[in-house]
Amino acid sequence: MVRPCIRGCASAAHVTLPRALLLAAILLALCDAALAHGVTEGDKGYIQEISGIHLVPFVYLGAKHMVTGYDHLLFLAGVIFFLYSAKDIGLYVSLFALGHSTTMLLGVYFGIGINAYLIDAVIGLSVVYKALDNLGAFQRWFGVQPNTKAATLVFGLFHGFGLATKIQDYDVARDGLVPNLLAFNVGVEIGQLLALGAILILMGFWRRSGGFFRHAYAANVAMMSAGFVLVGMQITGFFVAS
């Protein structure tokens, strides 16, 4: 490295050590702004601060994840859109839960690394698929009605991988991982039930009004559009984000 000379090269060696340290101290004090430790906030920051078993906090975080996971909730709303009996709703929601629990637990425990943007794009596609299915598009276009139970389970698997990538990003401590993950999963199901309750109440009011059957078609088209927005957003993120 070329050492800059101020008063001739020989003079550079005359900058005495105490003065050098004083100048260094002044410069470093001036640069204090750049030296602050980058603090991670929110749930991720909290998780990075703890290790060991924390069951209730992880249940809470799982529930929060599901309740604020609008892509998961959109798919769920699509699944129950034309389901009316408690038995059917219970069955389909359980299939979805089985799917996402399996891949969430396996994905985090084995550290299966999938690009978050790509898996979230697939989740967006699941919303598009469900909306088209509700519209009867597969019967009209292809003359088939794919098994709705199987589709719910399979897409559930993809939703679970999406959950797994988010949790891996949190950097959960290895110490106490399995109990914490199971607690997180319980939380996801609790969050799912809470969200489902709210969706069903709203759907209940809507279905009683004449509007539901008039607007069901348009509503599913809007859902399909939302699904495409999710896909576009995630694909863009894949290419744009570093």
Partner: protein, 207 residues
């Protein structure tokens, strides 16, 4: 509708049933807010259930992290673009060039952390400079051995949770300040002492 049978009106939930469900939902939400959500997000715990569940601690940690991040942002806003001017870089080059000619002798620094407190000790190093280090703590601490470039960009070399010490060689990935951040998540004050020898200047506590 298109892929299943349409129900008759009589098969749908009655209006009374729906209104009752809505009332139950509102009451349940209020209960959850008070016992779970407000403690976990904001450390607001009116009846103490949040503390019992361990969620108020989560809210307190998140609040502390948010305050520290806000302080960092404000400090960065007050001193913008420090890395852009040529003169500090010139002077730094001159001075840290001196340090390269005379590797610092073994130095020691220590800091005492109150419960919940975090602090940093760092050194100024050139890219590729190495420093042998050993730090010990009187209790468990979370740590992050990392470097900060003049523009503010950070990268972590090594991290750990609930550790009482570490030994190794820190190799600076770039010109800047490199060292440790420790956080005491215990109930008692903890003293951390680090001994370093190698190619660096100005080992000191950052805040």
């Amino acid at each position: 509708m298109y892929n299943s049978d349409m129900p008759t009106r009589a098969e749908l939930p009655s209006s009374r049933q729906l209104l009752r469900s809505t009332a139950i939902a509102v009451v349940a939400a209020a209960g959850l807010l008070v016992t779970v959500v407000l403690p976990a997000e904001y450390a607001v715990d009116p009846i103490g259930v949040g503390r019992f569940l361990g969620l108020t601690t989560m809210g307190e940690v998140k609040g502390q992290l948010a305050r520290e991040a806000e302080d960092d942002r404000r400090r960065d806003a007050q001193a913008p673009g420090r890395g852009s001017s040529v003169l500090p870089g010139l002077l730094k080059g001159l001075l840290i060039g001196e340090a390269r000619a005379e590797p610092a002798a073994a130095q020691e620094a220590s800091v005492t952390l109150a419960p919940g407190e975090g602090s940093e000790i760092k050194m100024a190093m050139k890219a590729g400079a190495k420093a042998d280090y050993r730090w010990t703590a009187s209790g468990s601490v979370n740590y992050d051995m990392h470097g900060t470039a003049p523009g503010g960009r950070e990268s972590s070399y090594k991290r750990g949770r609930e550790a009482t010490g570490d030994v190794g060689i820190l190799t600076a990935g770039y010109d800047g300040h490199h060292g440790w951040f420790w956080r005491n998540r215990g109930q008692e004050p903890v003293t951390v002492t680090v001994k370093v020898s190698g190619n660096f200047t100005d080992l000191k506590r950052m805040k």
